[in-house]
Assembly symmetry: C2
């Protein structure tokens, strides 16, 4: 694997502003930063993303992968972010085949709105073979607990979505963004760069588990599957198409995960109940 | 004003599915429906929206308005939804000028991810003149209370966003969708069809107030302003660009509105504190 050259552009993630509360008192609060980042591929303008800006290089890489404009990180020579001009310049090794054509068809997906995946959202689904293995209830609880104690922009400023990738029960990467598709794309970009892919789970326990604060929409489930992740956990619920996709690819989808509660929406045969709570709580 | 002919296509908004809980018990739950709706304008495919499907005709109209592909409802002759083929056919009276060119530039905005507004998101901002008037604290409380008691898909199935338009303190329209941009577009479409635009607020109180469960992103603020709405209330917070836009257009932006609490982020001089709570609550 040839790794691309990446900048490490950093910007503040929150901004302090004044707001007025219900008593008419002026209060200083933090809000998440939000900035536009225009992606250029081989000097051709592709898209403008609105992002918190935590990890713009990984975001860009993950975006290209998840839009299936590139098949592998090998195709990228460099990713250069310049916040002075809010631009990221991607240099490919050999160009992207038929880029005009492939970015022409628009499928506007749910997300929390009119998201975007360039054409053929479901096209590659049946080519995906997810890893074998089970999700353990104890693993679900450990993951929910790890997220609970995580210090985050959300805690200081709110209004962001968080995603995380777990290896076994170990938090590998935690990403927040104003858009949750950015968060999952950032994780996908980071994951594609990992060269020492040593499993952190033992036996038949699934090694990679994806966590999101947001809903399990079709796009989230597809992006998880594209990363080779066979189990997703969400604080929120699932949408109808998210469920359809999870069933189709055999992904274990768990939602409403808070404290000791959760609901397994898809493929419950992949869930091992090794930590059933002692008594039923209303 | 010439009103377009609209179908009144109806579909179920929730689906009952089985899930497995943390005790291994199978439970029947409801999840929101989610379906694709491909928009054809004068037989030309424009976009595919993922929607709950509550009000597809208003959604389509509001989408065209908010993308500024049409300037007025007068331009539309008919909107015909056919759920058998998940398509909506829009017939314009005189075509849409330069539609290829105007739908070519993509600005992918926040939403909860990579949303979509065809080019020039901020372009028309400075042309908007919002109505004069104030938002009253008592009005904020009445609106939050009206939302609280509303029966909704969210209450039965979760995982949807709600928007509402209030006239004074009266709930005029409540819309839920899997994507919140769909919800606000639906409200915009409905509002454009109203011919008896009689104010329901008296004196200098703002007549139209927009409510959303979602964050006040730039796109939500812009869409409110495009509807001629000078005050928005959210259960959630605001993003940096949402704040910038609200300040720029003079829109009163209130967030974190639950019970008697709220924060006014932008233009607090438009907020009249006529119902200050008796004592400070932590």
């Amino acid at each position: 694997m040839r790794l691309p050259q990446l900048t490490e552009a950093r910007v503040p993630l929150t901004e302090s502003i004044d707001a007025v509360d219900e008593f008419g008192q002026r209060r200083s609060i933090h809000i998440p930063a939000e900035r536009d980042l225009t992606v250029y591929v081989d000097k051709r303008e592709l898209v403008t993303l609105m992002t918190l800006g935590a990890r713009p290089e990984w975001l860009t890489l993950g975006y290209l992968l998840n839009q299936r404009l590139i098949a592998s990180v090998d195709e990228i020579e460099s990713i250069t972010v310049d916040w002075d001009v809010n631009a990221v310049s991607v240099k490919t090794r050999e160009g992207i085949d038929r880029i005009e054509e492939r970015t022409a068809k628009r499928v506007v997906t749910t997300g929390c709105g009119q998201g975007s995946v360039f054409g053929g959202l479901m096209d590659d689904l049946d080519r995906i073979t997810l890893p074998q293995g089970v999700l353990r209830q104890s693993q679900v609880y450990a993951i929910v607990d790890a997220i609970r104690v995580k210090e985050s922009t959300y805690k200081s400023a709110g209004s962001v979505h968080a995603c995380a990738l777990f290896r076994g029960t170990e938090l590998a990467l935690f990403v927040e963004d104003v858009g949750r598709h950015n968060a999952v794309d950032t994780i996908a970009g980071w994951l594609a760069l990992q060269t020492d892919d040593v499993p952190r789970a033992t036996g038949d326990t699934l090694d990679k588990v994806f966590y999101t604060t947001g809903r399990l929409t079709s796009e989230m489930v597809i992006k998880s599957a594209q990363m080779g992740v066979a189990a997703v956990i969400s604080r929120s619920g699932i949408t109808q198409m998210g469920l359809q996709v999870a069933r189709r690819v055999g992904l274990c989808a768990v939602g409403r995960a808070t404290n000791k509660h959760f609901l397994c929406y898809a493929n419950p045969q992949r869930l091992v109940l090794d930590a059933v709570p002692p008594e039923r709580v209303a």
